[in-house]
């Protein structure tokens, strides 16, 4: 809070920002990691709604189930699933980087591609299992 109010910045030339650089995969995935994180922040409301409905009783739970069955509900759930998986895999990648591994030119690209492919594959697999093996969302 205690900022030096006396020094107001003038318009000075800025260092190169996002639009200067050619988009790279690691850079795009870094942005997506933040976007999925923000989405999951609000997606927590979905989880809370579901849990409170389950605690409230059969009628409240039935209304949640009804919404999740709609096309919009399924799209939101599918997006939530992918965001959760992608953010988790991205987080694991960041933990690997935090430990000092995987910074080589080939390694970091491989890790990033694995995050993207892995998140899509696991999401589709989970929904496949959800629909076919467990009877789907009813």
């Amino acid at each position: 809070m205690a900022e030096a109010k006396t020094t107001r910045l003038k318009d000075r030339p800025l260092s190169p920002h996002l639009q200067i650089y050619k988009p790279m995969l690691t850079m795009m995935m870094s942005i997506v990691h933040r976007i999925t994180g923000a989405a999951l922040f609000f997606g927590m409301l979905l989880l809370v709604w579901w849990l409170i409905a389950a605690a409230a009783g059969p009628n409240a739970y039935a209304s949640v189930q009804w919404f999740m069955e709609t096309l919009l509900g399924r799209l939101i759930l599918f997006g939530y699933t992918w965001a959760l998986i992608h953010h988790m895999l991205g987080g694991i990648r960041h933990l690997v980087w935090d430990l000092g591994y995987g910074f080589g030119p080939a390694e970091r690209e491989w890790l990033t591609v694995a995050t993207l492919v892995g998140s899509v594959a696991i999401t589709v697999l989970l929904w496949f299992v959800g629909y076919l093996v467990m009877g789907g969302i009813r």
Binding site: V48, L51, M88
Partner: protein
Amino acid sequence: MTDRVHSSIRTPLGRVRYLGSAKHGTGHFWRQRLTSAANVPLTIAFILIVMSLLGRNHAAVVQILGSSFVSITMLLFIISSVYHMWLGMQVIIEDYVHDENWKIVSLMANTFFSFAVGLAAAFAILKLSFGF
């Protein structure tokens, strides 16, 4: 001028204005990594729990969610995730909200939202578990 002043690289003016290190250092960074590491197994457990509830009626869902092991796992998932998202959203706000007043309001809203959501989820799980 005493030796204590000379041992610091902070100027006397900076000291008066409380500029410089707040002595919190890497605390925020560390807690974000700590919760992220915890979230990996907890998220996998959460997904498995949700998958096991698909297609089941309300009574079965209440029974499964209310069992001790599932309840404790869900509570750990909620606490770790909400703490993690609280820290994460704080970083996003600090990056993009430059106006001082809006930044303070946003950071407060972030804290209020995180606590409300976390408490609501924890309450629901405990209610399912204790069955009142």
